[in-house]
Symmetry: C2
Subunit: 352 residues, 2 copies
C-alpha cells in the first residue's frame, strides 16, 4: 500500500484525500493543516490523523481541543509521497522539507513551473515523471486543455491552438473575490500564462491563450479553436473526444445550457461535493470550418485535477502504467460511471 | 434640415433622438411609442411630439393624461427618413408602412439581414447605401467588429478572423434576464450569428465567431484574433487602431481593468447616460504572434450604434460624404472630445 501524506487540506487537498482513500493500492497517512477550521474538524471525523503544518500556529489546535498527531515533518517522514495542496507559493517553499526527508512530492498547478522537476497530465505525459522528486500536477485549466489537445494531436496533428478562457471569478466559498457585474480581461496583456503552461506538457505546441474573468463561481469556460493538420468531420472529432477517459461530450438531449445545469446533474448523480472531474464538452459546439475545429468546454476548477493527482502518485512511484492507473483511479472514484443518466427515450433520428 | 422620425423610443431610440437633435443639419419630427411609460414622459419633457405606435394601445396615453400628436403613420408621412428602433422583429413588420409612405427607414441590428436592402457601418461601407429604402444599422457587436476589421483589412489584409464574444446577459434595466452566476455558451452551436452578420458588411471576409453569455450588464467583451496577411509590429497596429474615428485605445496609465472602470470614466467625462460610443480596445492587449493579432475590446451595447444611425441618415439621403458625416456626427455628439482626461504627468519613458 502506498502511504500518501496530504499537506494542505483545503479545496484540492480534501478532495485528493477522499480520492486516495478510495484507491485499493493507497492509504492516507494523515493530513497537515495550518488552522483548526471546519475542514480540520471534518478531517478528524473522517478518521484522518491531523498534523500541524506551522509550528507558530500549532497551539491553535490545542486551544480548539483538537489532538494532533505531530508536525508536518513527521507526516513527510512517514509518507512514501506527499501531495502538497497548499496555497500557491507555499508548495515551492516546502520543497526543501520534502528533499530533507527524501520524500517525493506533488505540487499543484499554481506553483512555478521552474520550481519543479516535471509537470504532469495523466493523459498526455504519464510516462515521463517516474522517479522524479518534485512533480507539478498542472492547473485545472491546463489539465482541461491538455486532455483535449492530446487526442487531437495524436489523431490529426495540430497546427495551432487559440483559446479564450472565460474564467470564474472565484470558487463558491471565496466570498472576497470579484468581479461583480463586470467582464475583465485578465491578464490584460497577451498571451495569458495558460499557453506557456500547456507548453510544460506539450513543449512543441503552438498555442496562444487569452484570459478573462467574469462574475461566476461554478466552472471555467473555454472557447477553443484548434487548427488541425487535417480536415476530419465534426462527428468524427466528437466521437474521438467522447472516447477519452476524462471527457464528457454533452449530448444535445440532456439540455445542459451552462455550468449551473452541469453542477445540478453532478449533484443528482450523487457525485461527492457535486464534483465534475471530466472536461465537459458541448457536443453541439464541436464544429469544423475547414481545418479549424471550434468547441466550448466547461472545466470544474475545484476537482478536475483530483484524479490527476491520484495518477501522478502511481506515475512518480512507478506503481502502474498509464492505462492501468487511469482505469484504477476512474473506477475507484466513480468517474468511470459517467455523469449522464441513461436515456430512456430512443435516440433521436434524422427524421425527428 | 433633414426631418427625422423616431419610431420606438427605448434604449436605442431615445439615444438616437438626442443625437439627432444635436446635429446641425437634422431635426426630430417626433417619436412614436407604444406605451406611456417613463420614457414617454421624458420625451415630452424634452419637447418631442409623441405619436402612438399602436392603435390598440393609443387610449393608454389619454388615460395617462398625455397628449399625442397623432398616429405613427402621421409621423412617417412627415419624415424624410425614419429611424426604427422598435424591438427585434417589429422593424421588419413596419417595413410595409414605410414603403406605403415612400419614406426610407433605418432598421436596427436585431432585424433579419434578408429583410432589408442593405446593411450599414459608417467606417466600412458608407458609400453603398445611398438611395436605398430599407437599411439595417448592424448590431452593437457587428458594429464593434466592423470598425476593427475595416482598417486592418485595408492596411494589412486579413486571412481570417476568429472572435469569442463574451456577451453581457442583459442591459442594466433588463431585470428579468440572466444568467446569474453562470457562463453560458450562447449560442451553443457554432459559429454564432455574429460572423455571418459581419459578412453583410464584408462579404468576402473569412470569420468565425463564438458567443457566450455571462452575468454582467455593462458592456460586451470581445476576445479577438485576426490572422493578418502581413506581420506588422504590435505598436504599429496599436497606432493604426488609435487613429480611427470611433476607437479608444486604452492607455496603460489610465488603469482601466474592465467595463465598470470604463463606465466610471464615461460618467466622469460627462457623457450623456455614461454612453461609450467608441470601441474600447486595451492597448496592452494588442499583441502580434507571427501574423496573428490578438486583442480585447469592450463594446457598449446600448450606444455604439447611435453615431452609426446618425451617419446612416446622411448616407441614405446622400446628404454628406463619409468623412464629412463622421466628423459632423462626432463633433456634434461630443465623441470627438474623447473619453480620457489629458495626462498631467509626463509620458512614461522606457527607463521608468
Amino acid at each position: 500500500m502506498i502511504q500518501v501524506g496530504i499537506n494542505g487540506y483545503g479545496t484540492i487537498g480534501k478532495r485528493v484525500a477522499d480520492a486516495v482513500v478510495q484507491q485499493p493500492d493507497m492509504e492516507v497517512v494523515g493530513v497537515a493543516k495550518t488552522r483548526p477550521n471546519f475542514e480540520a474538524q471534518s478531517a478528524i471525523e473522517k478518521g484522518f490523523d491531523l498534523y500541524a503544518a506551522r509550528e507558530d500556529r500549532k497551539h491553535l489546535f490545542g486551544e480548539a481541543g483538537i489532538d494532533i498527531a505531530g508536525d508536518v515533518e513527521d507526516l513527510v517522514e512517514q509518507s512514501d509521497i506527499v501531495v502538497d495542496a497548499c496555497p500557491s507559493g507555499i508548495g515551492e517553499a516546502n520543497a526543501e522539507m520534502y528533499a530533507e526527508y527524501d520524500t517525493p512530492a506533488l505540487l499543484q498547478g499554481g506553483e512555478d513551473k521552474d520550481a519543479v522537476d516535471a509537470s504532469f497530465n495523466a493523459r498526455s505525459n504519464y510516462d515521463t515523471v517516474e522517479g522524479e522528486d518534485l512533480v507539478r500536477v498542472v492547473s485545472c485549466n491546463t489539465t482541461g486543455l491538455s486532455r483535449l489537445i492530446a487526442p487531437l494531436a495524436e489523431e490529426y496533428g495540430i497546427e495551432k491552438v487559440r483559446a479564450t478562457l472565460v474564467r470564474r471569478g472565484g470558487d463558491p466559498a471565496q466570498s472576497g473575490r470579484g468581479p461583480i457585474n463586470d467582464i475583465l480581461p485578465n491578464p490584460v496583456s497577451l498571451p495569458s500564462h495558460h499557453g506557456p503552461d500547456v507548453n510544460t506538457i506539450f513543449p512543441e505546441l503552438s498555442i496562444d491563450t487569452l484570459g478573462l474573468k467574469v462574475p461566476a463561481t461554478l466552472m471555467h469556460m473555454h472557447s477553443v479553436n484548434v487548427t488541425l493538420e487535417s480536415e476530419p468531420g465534426a462527428d468524427e472529432v466528437r466521437e474521438l473526444l467522447d472516447a477519452q477517459d476524462r471527457t464528457f461530450v454533452i449530448p444535445d438531449w440532456l439540455g445542459l445550457d451552462g455550468a449551473g445545469a452541469i453542477k445540478e446533474l453532478a449533484q443528482d448523480a450523487g457525485r461527492p461535493r457535486a464534483d465534475i472531474w471530466e472536461n465537459c464538452i458541448w457536443g453541439e459546439s464541436v464544429s469544423m470550418e475547414g481545418s479549424d475545429l471550434y468547441l466550448f468546454q466547461a472545466i470544474h476548477q475545484e476537482s478536475d485535477v483530483v484524479p490527476e493527482n491520484v495518477d501522478a502518485i502511481r506515475a512518480v512511484l512507478g506503481e502502474a502504467d498509464q492505462a492501468e492507473s487511469i482505469q484504477r483511479t476512474n473506477e475507484a472514484m466513480g468517474l468511470a460511471d459517467g455523469l449522464a443518466p441513461t436515456r430512456v427515450a430512443p435516440e433521436a433520428t434524422a427524421d425527428d
